[in-house]
């Protein structure tokens, strides 16, 4: 693949990618742009509803529980752990991509397995959080949380947006884990070794980092602001 960038190249005359990346990677980028708009639309409609409402629940009151800690008031702690897990799994994914560049099959295997474990841990945390919120009476169409100013909830916008957006993100994590498992199977079978490059790891890596990127925004919009 002729990927060197030189001044003499005629970028748009064909024969090589004007973006200096393969077709597959470019299409992954384009898919991620479209996905960014989907998540952006969801988050902005959440923001619009929140600006429209005269009162809104306080996230530090809603999200204050931690597994096995009973009624101890621990705002933000559990979701910080979830954030840490997702950032960590992003690091292991980068390390898998990195090992792939050097055709290090064992390295790719090790880091991919750790990434999958991280993704599953994140999903486990989210399952616990959803179960807990469901137990205290929150669900689509049901909002048990009083507003920050003490008034009773008059709409279910808060819970509707929370479950829809974290659910859509969780769905992305789930499909990311599935993609990682498929790629791991191919790594173990030697498919990429035979192909001569580990670019498929880079492509699912892009997707995985994007899921982490979305979480950064979900974390800020739902738990911090």
């Amino acid at each position: 693949m002729d990927n060197a960038v030189t001044a003499k190249k005629k970028w748009w005359n064909g024969g090589y990618s004007p973006f200096s990346v393969s077709y597959g990677k470019l299409m992954m980028w384009y898919f991620l742009i479209s996905d960014a708009f989907t998540f952006g639309a969801l988050l902005i409609s959440y923001g619009t509803q929140r600006f429209m409402a005269e009162a809104w629940p306080d996230p530090n009151v809603v999200f204050h529980s931690f597994p096995f800690m009973g009624h101890t008031n621990l705002p933000l702690v559990f979701v910080s752990l979830m954030t840490f897990i997702l950032i960590m799994s992003s690091v292991t994914m980068v390390l898998a991509v990195h090992a792939g560049k050097y055709m290090d099959r064992q390295g790719v295997t090790k880091w991919l397995v750790l990434t999958i474990v991280g993704g599953l841990m994140f999903l486990g945390c989210q399952a616990w959080e959803w179960t807990h919120l469901h137990e205290v009476g929150a669900w689509w169409g049901r909002n048990p949380f009083p507003n920050a100013d003490g008034s009773a909830a008059i709409s279910t916008n808060f819970t509707d947006f929370f479950f829809t957006i974290t659910g859509f993100h969780g769905l992305h994590v789930t499909s990311g884990v599935i993609l990682n498992i498929i790629v791991l199977i191919n790594v173990l079978k030697g498919t990429y070794e035979h192909r001569g490059h580990y670019e498929m790891v880079e492509k699912v890596g892009l997707y995985w980092h994007f899921v982490d990127l979305v979480w950064v925004f979900v974390f800020t919009c739902f738990y911090l602001l």
Partner: protein, 128 residues
């Protein structure tokens, strides 16, 4: 010779990866720390705190996209084709949040029982 050079590169790249990780973790810890400071002392005010959160979130997004997704090291054509469409978000966010705010105000002003604002009587233009 060539081999040792590439091994050196390899280690340098791993270093960058871990450095990015520590930056992301550090920013998250600062965010959570600031949230707790606000919770117990009420300082800084909600407006400043939220502005800080949004700024730090954008920093994190930058590091994830630039280093983890490797976009910083791609050629300019690709960087532009990815980032330019996202500029729409600037309009998108301002327009929709302003719309939500305007709805809130209209609801407040027009809800039943709200006293009608007395407009200052307009001086009738003299015709003669």
């Amino acid at each position: 010779m060539a081999h040792t050079h590439s091994a050196h590169d390899k280690d340098a790249q791993v270093k960058v990866i871990w450095k990015t990780f520590w930056i992301l973790l550090g920013i998250t810890i600062v965010e959570v720390g600031m949230a707790f400071v606000h919770l117990y002392t009420g300082f800084p005010s909600k407006l400043w705190l939220n502005s800080l959160f949004i700024l730090l979130t954008l920093f994190k997004a930058f590091y994830i996209v630039a280093e983890f997704m490797h976009l910083r090291h791609e050629i300019k054509n690709l960087i532009m084709t990815v980032l330019m469409p996202l500029m729409l978000f600037i309009w998108f966010i301002i327009a929709f949040l302003a719309d939500g705010d305007s709805w809130k105000n209209m609801r407040k002003d027009l809800s039943p029982g709200t006293p009608v604002k007395k407009e200052a009587p307009v001086a009738a233009p003299a015709h003669h």
